[in-house]
Structure formats: structure tokens, C-alpha cells
């Protein structure tokens, strides 16, 4: 087996896996903290991708800048959405089920809005560096992969530090692990849920932009992205930020290796086979211990 092929394949696999991780980390958080399975998470990612597309097209804004801008904008939008839609269903007996149905509908609405604004034909996010590469010896580091990888690292690290080091972030974790005690010590659960939801949606926007640097997208692409979301969350463990990042890494390594060693038509089978293996044997993800 050829070393260049293996290395090259691993590199792009890992970098892509990290993009899935950024897209998925918020999905994991809303599921873990709020017990909300946010089916429209990918659709918000797609909204970020379309916004970045238009910003690049009409104003020449670089997708990296768009990713940075999309975070506060989506945060505010998601706060409103939480008050309007999510908060009312937190009283439901089966929040998981209620949230899935509600956000499934939301995903369809978002898809239709995007199809209205941006039309049904596929789009490609093409900044100047979209098909360039950094060449180191015999190895090529493709710029879109590097940017996606970099933004994902920054995004996930920032989220990790927020949850680990700030009072609000700690309250998010506390509310998830022991909501009653958290309330007794001053945590407003609704406020924390809103922040969690909004943070999750804003990381989705950044993740969607990164993914759009790698693949073309259409209004219904979020259905496909949803599969990646489940993949990283199931492998990484629900609510686990570090687990999600590691899941991205693992998925990347496995995809990269199977790309290098197996016939290409097996690759998707291996990747999604991984999902089934985890669902059956390790439904709590890679870590035994719950945590970040």
C-alpha cells in the first residue's frame, strides 16, 4: 500500500471528520442538556451556508468572516425561536418525541424558505482558495479542508472552554446533570436552555459554512447532514463536547483508511456501519463516563 495515498486520505478524512464534529457538537448539546432532538439543526447549518454563499457572491465576504458573523446572528435568532417554539414544548411529557416532531416540521419550513430565496439548484461555495492546497513535500493540504478543520478546532475549543470555565457554561452542565439542585443554587433553567439552544444553533451555522466549503449543497441537503449529526453524536456520546471532537477524528480516520484500502463503493457502508455498531454495543458513545 502506498504511503502517500494513505496519508493523503487520512488527512482529508480527519479534517472532514472535524467539520462534522463542529456541525454536530450543538446537536449533541441540545440533546444532552435539554432532551431536545433538534431535527432542524442541519437546516440551520444550511442557512449559514446559503448566507455565506450570498455574502461571498454579492459583497465578496470571505466564508471565514461569514462564519464569525453567523454566530451572533444565529444566536439571537435562536433565542427568539426558543421562546416561540421550544419553550412551550418543554412542558410536554415526552420532550424527546415532541421536540423531534416540532423541529422536523421546522426543518421542512426552513427548507422551503431556502428553496424560495435561493432556488432549488445546487450551489457551491467558491472563495479564491476553494480548490487550492498547501503543498508540503509529497503531501497536499487542501485549503477548504484546512479552513474547515481550523474553524472546527476553534469552535469546539471555544465551546469547551465556555462550558468548563464560565459560570454560565457550568450552569449548562449543572442543569443537565442535576436540574433540581441547579435551581436551588440560582440557575434559571429556562434561561440556560435558551442559551444552550442558541449556542447550538450558532455552531451549526459555522459548521454548515465549513461543510459547504467541502461539498455542494441544495435546499434539501440538510437531510443528508442530519445523518452526519447522528453519526458524531452516537459515536461521541450525547452531550459530550470532547467526545464529539473525538468522534469526528474517529470517523475521519475510518473514512480515510477505508478510502485508501477498500473499493470506494464500500466506504459509505463502513462509515454508517460504524453508527449501527455504536448504537448496538456502545449506545453511550466512546466514553464510559458522562462529561463534557
Amino acid at each position: 500500500m502506498d504511503a502517500v495515498l494513505i496519508f493523503q486520505s487520512l488527512i482529508s478524512g480527519i479534517m472532514m471528520g472535524m467539520v462534522y464534529a463542529l456541525l454536530g457538537v450543538g446537536f449533541s448539546l441540545t440533546w444532552g442538556v435539554m432532551h431536545v432532538i433538534h431535527i432542524s439543526h442541519g437546516a440551520f447549518g444550511l442557512l449559514g451556508a446559503y448566507a455565506a454563499y450570498s455574502l461571498l457572491q454579492y459583497f465578496g465576504v470571505d466564508p471565514i468572516a461569514s462564519a464569525a458573523m453567523s454566530v451572533p446572528l444565529l444566536f439571537l435568532m435562536a433565542c427568539g425561536l426558543y421562546q416561540l417554539l421550544i419553550r412551550p414544548i418543554t412542558r410536554a411529557k415526552n420532550i424527546i418525541m415532541a421536540s423531534m416532531i416540532l423541529t422536523f416540521g421546522l426543518a421542512i419550513i426552513l427548507e422551503n424558505i431556502m428553496a424560495l430565496i435561493w432556488k432549488a439548484d445546487p450551489r457551491v461555495l467558491t472563495p479564491a482558495y476553494s480548490s487550492g492546497a498547501l503543498i508540503v513535500g509529497p503531501f497536499y493540504f487542501q485549503y477548504p479542508h484546512l479552513v474547515g478543520f481550523g474553524l472546527s478546532l476553534v469552535g469546539i475549543t471555544a465551546l469547551y472552554l465556555f462550558l468548563k470555565k464560565t459560570y454560565t457554561g457550568m450552569a449548562v452542565r449543572a442543569a443537565w446533570q442535576q436540574p433540581e439542585a441547579a435551581r436551588l443554587y440560582g440557575v434559571n433553567l429556562f434561561q440556560i436552555s435558551m442559551i444552550t439552544f442558541a449556542l447550538a444553533v450558532s455552531t451549526a451555522g459555522a459548521g454548515g459554512i465549513c461543510l459547504a466549503l467541502l461539498n455542494s449543497f441544495e435546499p434539501h441537503s440538510h437531510n443528508l447532514w442530519l445523518i452526519y449529526l447522528f453519526l458524531v453524536v452516537i459515536v461521541g456520546g450525547v452531550g459530550n463536547v470532547i467526545g464529539t471532537a473525538l468522534a469526528g477524528l474517529i470517523i475521519g480516520v475510518i473514512t480515510g483508511l477505508s478510502m485508501a484500502f477498500l473499493p470506494f463503493q464500500w466506504v459509505n457502508l463502513v462509515t454508517f456501519g460504524l453508527l449501527m455498531v455504536f448504537l448496538i454495543f456502545r449506545p453511550h458513545g466512546i466514553f464510559k463516563q458522562e462529561g463534557l
Binding site: Q8, M16, M100, V124, F230, I234, M259, F264, Q265
Partner: protein, 402 residues
């Protein structure tokens, strides 16, 4: 929190339930009366919405044109178009419904190939003439007598035009080693037909021949393999998303074969629009083009220029128009709305379409129709056969611009 295993599966169940509850509403509802009603379904929403909507526009352009000339057999024509939501099963149901419930006078062709193939037996059962694009050879090898392709979109013929041109290139300048990557579905695999025949004839060795399943999220390994095997021609037999991923990887990894041949993806207008320069020099084929000189093409081009500000009508606009042209001439020839008489007329006579004149064989197919294309400076140019050539092909492909 413990992850409940049921969650994932319940999600799938809900998705399935909601999908099946989605209303089946006709896109346009006309009442059947004096006019001739032409019915059927198109994918106006869902995965093939983009193409389905262009087909509808082409059909409506034809209807406006014929109605302004007094209609068919002295009656105006109307459409009853259902939205099959890109679902093959729904396309079959709507075809059945159009014939038995709405009692339409004529059936129009559908898209995509999978749907067209599935509707053919319905048309045959009710003895309705069905002019569609077929999609690949198997559609026309089911022994049906009422189905016609005018012109058909045949994967098996897709690279004929390209190879005809390649055969004119001196043998020592032709590529020697081919990398072939094919999307694993009937349309993708049908492209192998002409590749297998012609590479043998032109002495091109197929060094890599691999299939992949959609979605193709990363093409790095595909390109590295082709590069390392020193393949000097790349066949990327795929659709738009995988096609884009492959092209971006080829550029990023500095892979410069003499020619890149791309299957279906590069036919979509978005290819040129979205990829810009990076989409240039890609070879492909077509069976319709606004640059052809057959009567009608200028008129269609003028219309889309005025209405949609496009320089050339999109492929699927042409398909919609061409099917209707064929049906129109057959009805005029048969002089009655009798499906069997219409069919018999089509089997015995020549029709003139925007894709050229054609006669149909037992299967309902014309002679292979294919024009080789290459994207040059963001425009789809015809390169083969010589008599329709709009530009000299650029070969070998220039190295990627950095």
C-alpha cells in the same frame, strides 16, 4: 443521561409517517371540457424539482405556441400536471390516475429515467402513447410498443459524440490510460457502455475502474489513485454534487490529465454558474442543444433570453418542448385522438424536432443521437460531429490555474 436506543428508530418512523401523509395535490387543476387535455406528472418539488420545473416551462411554451395557432385538430390544448415530488411510486399513481380518473386525451412524458421507466408499463397497459426521455437502454428494452424517446436521454449513448471526436485525434496524441469512477446507480452505470466499447477500439487501457456510492463527501483518494497510476484521462461518471467534489479535489491536488470527461453533473446549468473557470474544459455529451441549427432552436433561445435572460435554453426546457413537438406531429398525422393510430403513425413516419429529424425503431428509439460537448470559457460548446461544431475542442486540457 442514558441514550435511548429507540430514539433513532422513532425518528425514522416519524419521518416515514409524515412523508406518507403529505398531500397529493395536483399542481394545476383544469376541468376537462372541450379542449384536449394532456395529463401526467412531473417532479415539481423534491430532488428533481429543478429539472422538472424546466420541463414544465418547455411544455407550456409549446402549448401557448400551438394554441395561438388554433390548437390541435382545431381544439385548444390544456395540461393537467401532477407533482410527483420526485417519487417514482407517485409518478406511476398519477399516470394511472390521469388515464383512468381524469380520462385525459394524451399523456406527456416524465422525468427522471427511473420514473419514465416505471410509467412505461402503465402507458402500455392502457394503450397510451408515451413520449419521454427514457434515461437508459433498459427502459426501452421492456418490449413496449407505445413508448417513444424523442429524443431519449440515453446513458449508453452519452459519450458517443466525445469518442467520435477522440477518434479523429492522431493516435499518438490520444490518452493511453483511463481512470473511470462511476456513481453506483443505473444512470451512472449505463455510461460504462460507450466507455467499454470505445476504449477498446481506441486502445485506451482502463487502469482504474471503480464505483462509488452517493454521497461522495471526499474525492481525495480517487484523485490520488488516478494521479499515481499516471492516468491521462479521467472519466467522472457522476451527478452534480460528486462531480463538484471530484473537480475540486483534482484541482487542489494538481491532477492534470489530458482530458476530463464528466457524466451528468456538468449538464446542469449550475455547473458553469457555480464552478466558473474550474468547470472549464470538461467533456460531456448531450442530445439537445440550443446551438443546433434545426428549426425551432432559435425561437426557443429567443424566448428564454427574453423571459429568463438565458443565452441558451436549458436542456430540460428543450426536452419538454421536443416531446410535445413529437406528439403534436403524430396527432396531426393520425388526424384523430386514437392512441393506436397515433402510435402506428409514429412507427411509420419521420418527425422533425429541435433535436433533428428522427424515425423510430421497434423499441421506439431513433438512431443514436448524441453530440459531444466541451465547456469552453464557461459555455457549453458542441465539438462533435463536425457539422454541428461550434468550437474547436481544447485538447489537451490546460493545467489548472493557481
Amino acid at each position: 443521561m442514558k441514550v435511548k436506543r429507540g430514539n433513532f428508530f422513532s425518528l425514522l418512523v416519524i419521518a416515514a409517517i409524515i412523508c406518507s401523509f403529505t398531500l397529493m395535490t395536483p399542481a394545476v387543476g383544469f376541468s376537462a371540457g372541450k379542449p384536449i387535455v394532456i395529463g401526467g406528472s412531473l417532479p415539481l418539488t423534491g430532488a428533481y424539482a429543478e429539472t422538472g420545473q424546466w420541463i414544465e416551462k418547455g411544455m407550456r411554451f409549446w402549448a401557448d405556441e400551438i394554441n395561438s395557432k388554433g390548437g390541435m385538430l382545431g381544439r385548444t390544448v390544456e395540461f393537467k400536471i401532477y407533482d410527483d415530488q420526485s417519487d417514482v411510486g407517485k409518478a406511476v399513481t398519477f399516470a394511472e390516475k390521469a388515464i383512468t380518473v381524469d380520462k385525459v386525451d394524451l399523456l406527456f412524458g416524465g422525468y427522471p429515467g427511473t420514473a419514465a421507466r416505471a410509467v412505461m408499463p402503465v402507458a402500455e397497459k392502457h394503450k397510451f402513447v408515451y413520449v419521454s426521455m427514457g434515461g437508459h437502454m433498459k427502459s426501452f428494452e421492456q418490449g413496449y410498443t407505445y413508448s417513444f424517446g424523442a429524443p431519449p436521454l440515453m446513458g449508453e449513448w452519452w459519450y458517443e459524440g466525445f469518442f467520435h471526436w477522440l477518434a479523429t485525434v492522431p493516435a499518438d496524441k490520444r490518452p493511453k490510460r483511463a481512470a473511470v469512477y462511476t456513481i453506483n446507480n443505473p444512470v451512472g452505470l449505463s455510461l460504462m457502455d460507450s466507455i467499454n466499447r470505445w476504449t477498446k477500439k481506441l486502445n485506451i487501457e482502463i487502469v482504474i475502474n471503480e464505483k462509488y456510492n452517493a454521497p461522495l463527501t471526499d474525492a481525495t483518494a480517487l484523485i490520488v489513485k488516478a494521479k499515481q497510476s499516471r492516468c491521462d484521462i479521467l472519466f467522472a461518471n457522476g451527478f452534480f454534487p460528486d462531480g463538484v467534489t471530484t473537480m475540486k479535489a483534482a484541482k487542489a491536488l494538481g491532477y492534470n490529465p489530458k482530458a476530463i470527461v464528466q457524466g451528468i453533473g456538468s449538464v446542469v446549468p449550475a455547473w458553469v454558474k457555480e464552478l466558473g473557470k474550474d468547470g472549464d474544459y470538461v467533456f460531456s455529451g448531450t442530445c439537445l442543444s440550443g446551438q443546433l441549427s434545426y428549426p425551432g432552436n432559435d425561437k426557443l433561445n429567443a424566448y428564454v433570453k427574453k423571459t429568463y435572460n438565458l443565452n441558451e435554453y436549458p436542456l430540460y426546457f428543450g426536452f419538454g418542448y421536443s416531446w410535445m413537438q413529437t406528439l403534436e406531429q403524430a396527432v396531426a398525422g393520425a388526424k384523430v385522438l386514437d392512441q393506436t393510430k397515433i402510435r402506428d403513425w409514429l412507427k411509420a413516419n419521420k418527425v422533425n424536432t429541435i433535436a433533428g429529424p428522427m424515425t423510430f425503431d421497434k423499441r421506439g428509439l431513433p438512431e443514436p443521437i448524441n453530440f459531444g460537448t466541451q465547456i469552453i470559457n464557461g459555455k457549453v460548446e458542441l465539438i462533435s460531429p463536425k457539422n454541428v461544431q461550434t468550437k474547436e475542442p481544447v485538447y489537451p486540457k490546460p493545467a489548472w490555474e493557481k
